[in-house]
């Protein structure tokens, strides 16, 4: 291998999502990031130029780079999340480009669920609006570790520092209250290219990084390995061949933490214990492996383990429960009502479940709680209490995005109904507040 190849393949990967409402210039920002980082190739640019010219536009419409479907191009809107790929010398990027137009909550939830960073776009002329708060709330709920506030269209407010500072202050106060751990505010003009890839010559008062520079340097993935180890068993590997007559390995992707050979482990939900005898990291034997590596674990004792079980160090094994309290984001068109029989998919385990209670529904505009809504509809965020047919080794989502998350699935047609986040969140704060007499006050 050449040194260039080694250098390129040793770079890290950052997954991030963008959020912004229709006229905030999100497509322009994404187009600018791709264009200025030289990630748009000639044939793609030619296609954009050709279509723009056909439509009578003088300059290439960079939004056309990201609108991939016939209906999107016809209507000039983004319908669904699209994934973009670009790279710099420092890092590779996977961008979940989420539409701000319709069905914003479920689309942003989809994009944010795997993102380590979210870019929330604001129009400098309008400042923090309802939609901004919504985006901040979703990022906080999904526990995206880093949030960037991109204050766009600075060219239309005379590149004024005071305008930027006021918006940044208001957003930071709001997002911090929601529990967003790290917020970076950057004044930009996506149209003119200020502070997106190149530093702006119009804003000498700003000493921070450009959007791209920040994306390149923000730390990734450290939280995964600091957590207790969790290893959901995906598949049992038993070759039963002459060469490997007795091999029995538990294949899976380490969801969090670090696994070591010699470590005492507990298998959940059965509670059986053993010791890690070996770890095979895709064909080679290792002493240590960590999230999110896909490995195969062998144990000293031949105990009954199958898909859906969870292997964890005995010292830090999670408790199991059949009563799940969680915040959910409803992502389907059909509603979710109290009493509904559903399937719950948690890590590699899918179990039957019943929705016992829907204690509250959140209004994202002002974060107020509506008690006992009875049901949740598309894009609602609410609290649910679910009883499962079998015990689950569930962590709080606050502790692990991987082992604290689950899906609710319609058993009839397989529709994904809701994205669940176990344990407390800011949406559960006011849970005890409404008294019995308040019931129904807002219907």
């Amino acid at each position: 291998m050449t040194s260039t190849t080694e250098q390129l393949s040793a770079t890290t990967l950052l997954r991030f999502a963008t959020a912004g409402s229709v006229d905030d210039g999100k497509s322009t920002l994404v187009g600018r990031l791709l264009h200025d980082s030289k990630s748009v190739l000639e044939d793609q640019l030619e296609a954009v130029e050709r279509v723009s010219a056909d439509r009578g536009q003088n300059t290439p419409d960079l939004a056309l780079l990201t609108d991939g479907l016939r209906a999107e191009r016809e209507q000039g809107i983004t319908i669904d999340v699209a994934y973009r790929y670009f790279a710099t010398a420092r890092r590779r990027f996977i961008l979940a480009d989420t539409p701000g137009h319709v069905q914003y909550t479920r689309n942003m939830v989809t994009g944010a669920s795997t993102a380590e960073l979210a870019v929330v776009l604001v129009d400098a002329r309008n400042g923090v609006v309802e939609q901004t708060r919504r985006h901040a709330a979703v990022a906080a709920l999904l526990r995206v570790p880093h949030v960037v506030l991109a204050v766009n269209k600075m060219d239309l407010v005379g590149y004024e520092e005071t305008v930027f500072a006021a918006i940044a202050e208001e957003f930071t106060a709001y997002a911090s209250e929601l529990g967003v751990p790290e917020i970076t505010a950057i004044p930009i003009s996506a149209l003119a290219g200020d502070n997106v890839v190149e530093p702006s010559s119009h804003m000498d008062w700003y000493g921070g990084p450009t959007v791209l520079e920040h994306l390149e340097t923000v730390p990734v993935s450290h939280d995964l390995t600091a957590c207790p180890a969790r290893f959901p068993v995906q598949y049992v590997i038993r070759p039963q061949t002459a060469e490997h007559p007795d091999y029995r390995g538990y294949a899976g992707q380490i969801a969090s933490g670090v696994l070591r050979v010699g470590e005492p482990v507990t298998v959940l939900p059965s509670g059986r214990t053993s010791v890690i005898e070996g770890i095979d990291a895709l064909g080679e034997s290792v002493d240590i492996a960590w999230a999110p590596q896909s490995v195969t674990v062998r144990l000293k004792d031949d105990i009954d383990i199958s898909r859906g079980d969870l292997i964890a160090p005995t010292a830090t094994a999670p408790a199991t429960t059949q009563d799940v309290e969680a915040t959910v984001c409803h992502v389907a068109d059909q509603p979710l009502a109290v009493g509904a029989r559903v399937l719950l998919k948690h890590t590699t385990r899918t179990v039957k479940a019943i929705v016992k209670e829907i204690p509250s529904r959140l209004t994202l505009d002002d974060l107020s709680q509506h008690p006992e809504p009875g049901r949740l509809v598309a894009n609602d965020i609410g609290r649910v209490v679910v009883r499962t047919a079998e015990p689950l080794a569930l962590d709080a989502y606050a502790d692990s995005r991987r082992t604290g998350s689950f899906l609710l699935i319609d058993p009839q047609d397989g529709t994904t109904l809701a994205a669940g986040m176990a344990g407390e969140s800011f949406a559960s704060r006011a849970e005890a507040a409404p008294a019995a007499g308040d019931e129904g006050w807002d219907f």
Partner: protein, 314 residues
């Protein structure tokens, strides 16, 4: 420890003890996807064309289930206009790993009068019918494809798990949200799920992975002298499939292929890149996308790929 230089992830690095390189992240994710399908589906199959993406898919599947064999068969949709080197590679690979190969043949459909040759001679769009019928006939419930989201803007909208109805149709407006790594593979009888383990890989990632893992490829990926002729701004291989026509002249050029598909619509690029390193260096500075440079069928219209995907193409 048995760490080697080729696998830096096995030795924690002092500066970033638990960082994974981007190739390791992608590999780990793809292996996770293969194992999810093995755990949840009854009868999956891997689409295998002998092209680099399906070769990488197979390599990942081999790693995912080692030391056990890959628990899936392969399915090749044979257009009848194949590069001989690729068919040779396919058959050697199947034999080497003790795999089962199903072949769905476009030529047989044409001979039986079930499909009509197109006036432009392109057989890529004709693959859809043999593919979807093979899926129904063998009752495959999960079909692995090597599609990558960086290839084309309709593919950028594709989920990792993509539910297809009993007609194999893709409806981009009715896709399931895909949350975290919790893939929902529920489907009714007759429906199946297309699975794309390489969704998040780029062309360069694929090549770097091939180099890192030392994976063998068909020779046509590397520069060689070949008899080609120009059509629609591309170099096509002369052969029995129907080229050149009158007015098209054959010449010998030093070329290689960036994609492998039907001979009638897969173009070669001028190149002297005869080694993996040279290929990677060439792609790293290329100003053309893989499909833009070499695929005639995607140039048919702005939404050519989307339209084919809706009908059941992979």
């Amino acid at each position: 420890m048995t760490a080697t230089a080729a696998h830096p992830h096995t030795e924690p690095d002092a500066d970033a003890p638990y960082a994974l390189s981007h190739l390791d992240s992608l590999e780990s994710e793809a292996v996770h996807i293969f194992r999810e399908v093995a755990g949840e589906f009854e009868k999956p199959v891997i689409l295998f064309s002998g092209g680099k993406d399906s070769i990488v898919m197979l390599h990942l599947a081999l790693k995912a289930f080692a030391p056990a064999p890959v628990p899936f068969a392969l399915l090749h949709v044979d257009t009848g206009h194949n590069f001989p080197e690729v068919i040779d590679y396919r058959d050697r690979t199947v034999a080497a790993h003790g795999l089962r190969l199903h072949v769905a043949s476009v030529q047989e459909y044409i001979d039986a009068g079930k499909l009509k040759e197109r006036p432009d001679g392109t057989r890529n769009p004709l693959q859809t019918v043999p593919l979807t019928e093979a899926i129904q006939q063998h009752r495959f419930d999960a079909v692995f494809g090597g599609g990558r989201r960086d290839e084309e803007k309709a593919r950028a909208k594709e989920r990792v798990f993509s539910l297809r109805d009993e007609f194999s149709q893709w409806d981009p407006r009715r896709q399931r949200p895909e949350l975290w790594q919790l893939y929902n593979g529920r489907h009714a009888p007759g429906e199946h799920v297309r699975v794309f383990p390489l969704s998040n890989w780029t062309e360069l990632d694929v090549w770097q992975y091939i180099a890192r893992e030392g994976i063998e490829l068909p020779e046509i990926y590397f520069a060689h002298e070949r008899e080609v002729f120009a059509r629609s701004g591309m170099w096509l291989t002369a052969g029995d499939w129907g080229g050149p026509k009158d007015g098209e002249t054959v010449e010998k050029r030093l070329v290689r292929y960036r994609t492998v598909g039907d001979m009638s619509c897969t173009g070669a690029v001028d190149s002297d890149a005869a080694t993996l390193d040279a290929v990677i260096a060439e792609i790293a500075v290329s100003r053309l996308t893989e499909r833009g440079a070499t695929r005639a069928d995607d140039k048919l219209s702005e939404a050519a790929m989307e339209d084919r995907k809706r009908e059941g193409y992979f």
